[in-house]
Symmetry: none
Subunit: 193 residues, 4 copies
């Protein structure tokens, strides 16, 4: 029972990721999501307040999950450079493993709707913090330049990966992005030095 309910929540959430990822928020109809989740339209409203709440929840749940796992991935690593590489790998892996989620994050991150963006962006900040902490650490250990601007470095880190994923998503997701990881890593290392 508990399980079943959990199940339905996740089913709707994943259906929403798929549908919103493919059609975009505004073109994703509640009916589409309901059909994809194999529930009635009304059932969605037993789990979400309204359509917007679905989007916000996707960001909340999925980014939380992402950040927690990213933290775990680098937890036992000492070298900040190695941490950076793992973060790149993880970013690319998650996005290429979940292209629909990638699309939702790519696309709907840029909502102009103020309230919505605030809610959505809030969840992203935790990820930014993880990146910045690694960069800070690298600075302290003299691995990165003491003059490196942490904020800009993080923008470069996220911006570059985001753009690479974005291009990948918007060109049919055919390329194998793992091939670029080492090159991206090298560029970051040099840039941060």
């Amino acid at each position: 029972m508990e399980n079943n309910k959990e199940n339905k929540f996740e089913r709707i959430l994943n259906a929403a990721i798929k549908v919103i990822g493919n059609k975009g928020f505004h073109n994703a109809k509640i009916k589409d999501i309901a059909v994809e989740a194999d529930v009635a339209d009304g059932t969605i409203y037993n789990y979400f307040q309204n359509k917007e709440d679905i989007l916000v929840t996707i960001f909340k749940i999925k980014l939380e999950e992402y950040v927690n796992n990213a933290k775990k991935e680098i937890a036992n690593i000492i070298d900040p450079k190695e941490k950076l590489k793992v973060l790149i790998k993880y970013h690319v892996k998650i996005m290429t493993d979940n292209p629909d989620l990638a699309k939702v994050l790519q696309i709907e991150l840029r909502q102009p709707h103020v309230e919505l963006r605030v809610k959505v962006r809030k969840n992203l900040r935790n990820y930014f913090r993880v990146i910045e902490e690694v960069i800070e650490e690298g600075k302290k250990n003299n691995i990165f330049s003491p003059e490196l601007d942490v904020y800009l470095a993080r923008e470069m880190f996220f911006g570059t990966l985001d753009e690479v994923i974005s291009t990948w998503v918007f060109t049919g997701m055919s390329r194998d992005l793992t091939l670029y990881i080492d090159k991206i890593y090298d560029m970051f290392l040099k840039a941060f030095n």
Copy 2:
């Protein structure tokens, strides 16, 4: 007067940039644009095929303008490094001078609607080509590493700037971005080396 002489096409286009920039494409109503342009709803359809065409035209006209001017800016410069710096400056200048346009480009670049996105991205490619040519040139002149992946370098260039602008736009456009130009430039130089 000056304002009245400005032809209607431009008035509508600029009104659309303002409204779409602030509300996003889907929340921008034709009526909003008409009011902003001080024309009747129907008049818009004498200049544009439909709502989508307005967005496509913004990208077409404004990116064309942008690319042409960017080309001019670097036309008389010989040093690829200097060209890179000018491109950064120009990118930042245009976006901070036209925040509404910046928002439209930022936001609607990630159109989920496939056909629309294809039309919109098409115009961006010319800008990408300009960047890539500068990088290529730098490689040839041994200013950038011969092993530099041009595609990735361009992704880093555009992705980083895009992210910096995006953060600026979405945090209230208060910061003075020109202060970052030199730092960003230095990071690119190192990364491309």
Copy 3:
């Protein structure tokens, strides 16, 4: 305890009177009534056929009760005038003691839904009959004018009381209506003479 022993049928019925009285039939949700009665939504359907049936039952049960008690009140009175006064008193007392019920009767008596109204009005006729019998009796005893139109007299009796209660209900139920009883009684006596 006392409250818990009160059987569910009555709990639901009274909850319905409260909720429908405050929100009106169409704005009263089954869930509201269920919450007020402290039962599950589905439980209501073990005691009532459907939402409409609740309203019909309120009229049936409460008006039956009302008419029976009204009859008892005047059973041992001989003077038709005195009976009239008691009926006025009783009408005012019941309605002011049960403002939620008063609201339901006031409001839903005017159901536009034909079938529903027929069912609802049917129960009112017994009350009309009681009033008319007292007036008839008064005519026979030469206490009221032999030319008095019984139907109109009853309309005046009920219409006036209904309007007085209605105004009272819709102006916040602050006034003390018992102060008006004698005056209303006097006006009826004169009108019926």
Copy 4:
């Protein structure tokens, strides 16, 4: 043009009176009103803010009209008794001439929805004032008892007529109500004496 617009507003208003009168506010669908008025659904929203606004406007326009005409009817009459009779006649005439409007007034006057009722009741007060002024005048001229409670007299006047109309409406509108006018008038005269 002006005329045409005026026309459409009235067409929708009258269609709404007809449909709401027959089905009640909650069962009257916007589509029903649109079909009856021979306009598109959306057109209604060019003239009214929303569904509720239609109802409120009916009360506002029609009661204003009613009160103005009622005032005119009694403007040249000196005898308060005669004024009372004319008011009765006029009330009955308007309601029997416009049974759909009568139903709307009868039925929707008792909405429990607080905000709605406030708006609706506000328009009724002007009619109450007219009645009360006539009764006041009758008291001053010693035609009605100096002890007559004006408020109660007005409640009786309106309540009785309202109930008579209500019964007429709810029993198929077959009876000829003009036959009752003299009798009602006589009862009021006696009651107010």
